[in-house]
Symmetry: C2
DNA sequence: ATAATAGTGTCTCTGAGACAATATGAG
DNA sequence: CTCATATTGTCTCAGAGACACTATTAT
């Protein structure tokens, strides 16, 4: 504690016992349909939890996280913890809320900073081998919400889910769950996986025919300028798209 | 610090020296045009700053704020500080970011939680008499951004301004700056005051003719069901509107 | 009458929405 | 040829946008 001037007295009050970062790591896992070879996979939103090995809440599942050091920002702490848990880097991670209710942590006065991370399934696969699978595990979000999680992590998860649903529809974060090039059916599936109520029967036509909206995605072409397509999921090849660098600006008044 | 179990060792590390809340208090002040009696006033977005009386940054202007106590959440702290500075209650206040860069506060390791509050000009008027005007003062935001503010408050103010501009167009926070019943010209002015680039020549028609959008505002009628109007700003009376309780849900995909 | 704001008429054109129909090509 | 997904055709109707025009009423 620096104390340059005697007039400063904040240090006479009680100070917090820690400022951890907790991270809600979402991923979408695809499971191939067994019925047919070429078909859109079933997708599920999952969240990564760890089983606590020490007091408090020993043996219960919790969000990954850890205490911030005085030499880093809470954001850097979250990135570090994310890397320790999942061994992935360059991942979308963003701050979304603070949790400071007195008594929320039996270890003392601990103000937690909650982040959410979106990790592409393929990038998360390395992790499986790296850690003990019984202590770190992916759960379907709908199952995790029924579990008795440590601390106030149920609330944090609920808030994170609400946040990701809003952002899925108002920003281009869907790109975090997709390969660089994707078909519009894939995009539609991803959105529906995160936002169950989302239904747009004319989804493909809408995104391709609307001039205003088409600024967020563009057709992929090969070197010769021919449209690039994929028949990964269907007999008939589908046009590939990529996200542009544009972020849309929405308005309720225009 | 509670230490129920010897296995717990977080307390052996350095802990933060404080978790204050800083509040960006925005208001819009109207100044009557002198030229004519009935005319829309000139409006300006202003922010409340206080002059620091002690080290550090003594004599510089800063955002109001103060340290969180261990018996309250940071949100409750912000509300308390807001009330101490402005003597207004029941005001729109929301959390928007955390600031934790090491060294941001010369008093030590201090992680600040930034809130923004939107206060209706009329409700802020009581304050003028209550406090020493030389220490607490409203500044035009564009002027405040040019000042040499204490700590990283320039950054916080910049972020708050960006946040309020986004929210002004995507939520109904405009209601915070308006009386319960207002004309559409007033609403248009408020939006333009906060978001300089906003221009919708057909603003009134748009809000009144669009079925989808009209769910956020509704016409005010008197007891007999007749339209209620105001001629405060014009010779011809204008229809009064109020916000409904609906919050719009925007989407880039629909 | 003037001034200042409020609101309407009219036209064009884009695109949303519904839904049927056709395309593709591996198995 | 069948199946599953991709894509187009066609029709209707709402509403965005432009811009000129009319309405209201204190002064």
């Amino acid at each position: 504690m620096v104390e340059n001037e005697s007039s400063y007295s904040a240090s006479h009050y009680r100070t917090p016992d820690g400022a951890p970062a907790d991270i809600v790591i979402f991923t979408i896992v695809s499971t191939e349909k067994q019925t047919t070879k070429k078909a859109l996979p079933h997708r599920e939103l999952q969240v990564l939890l760890i089983k606590r090995k020490i007091w408090p809440f020993k043996g219960q599942w919790a969000l990954p996280g850890g205490f911030t050091k005085e030499t880093e920002t809470v954001y850097e702490c979250a990135k570090r913890e994310l890397q320790e848990e999942t061994a992935v880097e360059d991942v979308h991670i963003e701050y979304f809320n603070v949790y400071s209710t007195p008594g929320r942590d039996p270890r003392g006065w601990i103000i937690s900073h909650a982040f959410l991370a979106l990790v592409n399934e393929q990038r998360l696969e390395k992790r499986a081998a790296a850690v003990d699978a019984s202590d770190v595990q992916l759960f379907a979000v709908k199952d995790a919400l029924k579990m008795n999680l440590a601390f106030d992590h149920h609330q944090i998860l609920t808030d994170a889910l609400q946040g990701i649903r809003r952002k899925m529809l108002t920003t281009t974060i869907a790109k975090q769950f997709l390969p660089k090039e994707f078909t519009l059916s894939e995009l539609y599936q991803i959105i529906r996986t995160v936002v169950p109520g989302f239904e747009e029967p004319n989804f493909i036509r809408k995104l391709t025919s609307t001039k205003s909206r088409s600024s967020i995605i563009e057709e992929v072409t090969d070197e010769k300028g021919n449209p690039k397509q994929s028949n990964q999921y269907s007999q008939r090849a589908a046009q590939l798209y990529r996200f542009t660098n544009d972020e849309p600006h929405l308005s309720i008044y225009s």
